[in-house]
Amino acid sequence: MEVFLQTLVAGILKGGLYALIGIGMTLIMGVMGIINLAHGQMMMVAMYVTYVFFHYMGLDPYITLLISMPALFLLGVLIQKFLLNPLMKVESILPENQVLMTVGIGMVLTEVARFIFTSNYLSVKTSYSTAAWHWGGISFSVALCIAFVFACLLTVILFWFLIKTDLGRSIRAVSQDGEAAQLMGINSERIKVITMGIGAGLVAAAGTLLLPIYYLFPDIGGPFTRRAFIITILGGLGSTVGAILGGVSLGLAEAFGSTYVGMEYEDLIGMMIFVLVLLFLPGGFKRLTKV
């Protein structure tokens, strides 16, 4: 029973971070209608930013949030403005060239990171990295708990932003119907640029929060991109609430899988869920609430 509860706790805490990754992806998905296959790689960049500030300036990773999030926001804006938006005007037979473009961007980001930092594993060791609270025989990793709280906080702020502010409303409008939104006087290209920035900023937060308990190397982006799209499909495309549910379920599935089936199956389980969802619940959790 204790093992079960421990796994449950670990899964939910990890799921909070996954939700943060998934929300960024699903926002981009909703507004642009494309799957950002460079999502994990953006997270990797944020982790390196955090690492650099920790290693050379001794900044605490949680303070670095204030640097890594704007930095990645900028990166997302630049990518959207100079690489993805121009693609709308390019005439091509291949319909999925935007998705392909994100794959290319992801490869470039990974390899540039490898040039600068080599392939060595790096980690950020803080005083709370290995600390844990104990409560009734179950341990709560301090860093994961803090990350979970931050993730919840950011999600709430995002929801407030999307529901209450003018810009947030514009984003939701473009996401629902791009052409109609444009007719209502919304500059949809600008909205796309901002959304990409927000998505990148959110995944940057996830990366920075994850770093104290994780390790870092250039290829780390790939697995997280995969997780991000599994979460997005699981939650329902373009649904932010779905992304939270999807993130937590993936966290739980991975935790239970690695406890009860075996560590090496962790990645495979996510993929199996992905295929099963597509088979039996196309549309994800979003569909359950609507139908």
């Binding site: 998705v99 540039v112 295929v275 088979l279």
Partner: protein
């Protein structure tokens, strides 16, 4: 006569390719040409499902690895010549494509692309974890049949010709028109009475057949496979996409052009400019030259990424598709500088 007239250039290229092993005796260049021919087959397969039918395949490596592992396992487990892997690997690739297509063709556009990506990952994990069958990361060894590269060259050439002629024939047939109509507008195709799921399936199975054949040939030729090599996302799946789009999406000869360009690019970086950079650094003795050499030889994945970005932005229909555009631009620039 019209056949000869229409196909003059390809026939000349074919004659040159047949004569190639006699002209160039160097086994290194023969090796490169074998790779090019293998990529022609993979690129043609990718082009059929993605270029013509419009269902972008991100997981060519799944079928490639299926063919490769079939050939290697035949020898290692059943003690049958790995050459039987060519027919059997192709059959098993199709056998993988069939249920996969049945599951995933209800998805469209980017979602289909994602599922193929997932298939690639699943296959790699299975090949890694199922150690009792596949030896996991240790990999499988197959003794090469021939010492000389020439027999492999002709087998690869036969495969490449088969794939190009095959794709050409299919695209001239009724099926070809179905494929293109599905790419242009799936709903319209459906309402015209085309069973879109069936013809997407036909297209995927033909692709898997070609890619699986290439995989089995790879095992026989290279003599060693492991999950990281044959199920590689970057080196197989993305490379297949690049071969397709650099050469020209939805053109018969595009994959051939693309395969040549991409293998050349890969090799230029891997061997640091065919040994030019190491030679320069030795000849000049400059320290920074050695650093440049090191970086260039590490940059081949980076070059792939940059190529994806540049090609999609400026050459969306590939060298073949944008040929007139390309020549016009280059000629225009020449006139400007003169």
């Amino acid at each position: 006569m019209t056949f000869m007239k229409r196909n003059t250039a390809p026939l000349i290229v074919l004659l040159l390719l047949i004569a190639f092993p006699w002209i160039v005796q160097d086994s290194y260049y023969q090796h490169l040409m074998i790779l090019v021919l293998m990529w022609v087959a993979i690129g043609s397969g990718w082009n059929l499902i993605s270029g013509y039918t419009g269902q972008v395949l991100f997981g060519a490596a799944a079928f490639f690895g299926m063919g490769a592992y079939t050939a290697a396992l035949l020898l290692n487990k059943l003690d049958i010549s790995a050459w039987w892997g060519l027919p059997l690997g192709a059959v098993l690739s199709v056998a993988l494509a069939f249920p996969f297509g049945w599951i995933s063709f209800r998805l469209r556009g980017p979602y289909f692309a994602l599922v193929t990506l997932a298939l690639n990952e699943i296959m790699r994990h299975v090949a890694t974890i199922w150690e009792s069958l596949t030896e996991g990361m240790v990999g499988l060894l197959v003794m090469q049949t021939f010492v000389s590269k020439v027999p492999y060259y002709y087998i690869a050439l036969a495969l490449a010709v088969l794939s190009i002629v095959g794709v050409d024939l299919v695209m001239r047939s009724r099926w070809g028109y179905y494929f293109v109509s599905i790419r242009e507008d799936q709903d319209a195709a459906e309402s015209m009475g085309i069973n879109t799921v069936r013809y997407k399936m036909v297209s995927l199975c033909l692709s898997a057949l070609l890619i699986g054949l290439a995989g089995a040939l790879y095992t026989n030729y290279m003599g060693f496979i492991d999950p990281k090599v044959v199920f590689s996302l970057h080196d197989i799946s993305i490379m297949a996409i690049l071969v397709g789009i650099v050469g020209g999406v939805a053109t018969v000869y595009g994959p051939a052009v693309g395969a040549f360009i991409m293998v050349a690019v890969q090799e230029i970086f891997r061997s640091a400019g065919f040994g030019l950079f190491p030679y320069l650094s030795k000849a000049t003795g400059w320290a920074w030259m050695a650093t440049v050499t090191k970086y260039v030889s590490e940059a081949h994945v980076l070059s792939f990424g940059l190529l994806v970005v540049i090609v999609i932005l400026y050459l969306p229909n590939g060298v073949t598709g944008d040929w007139s555009n390309l020549t016009r631009r280059l000629l225009f620039r020449k006139r400007e500088t003169a």
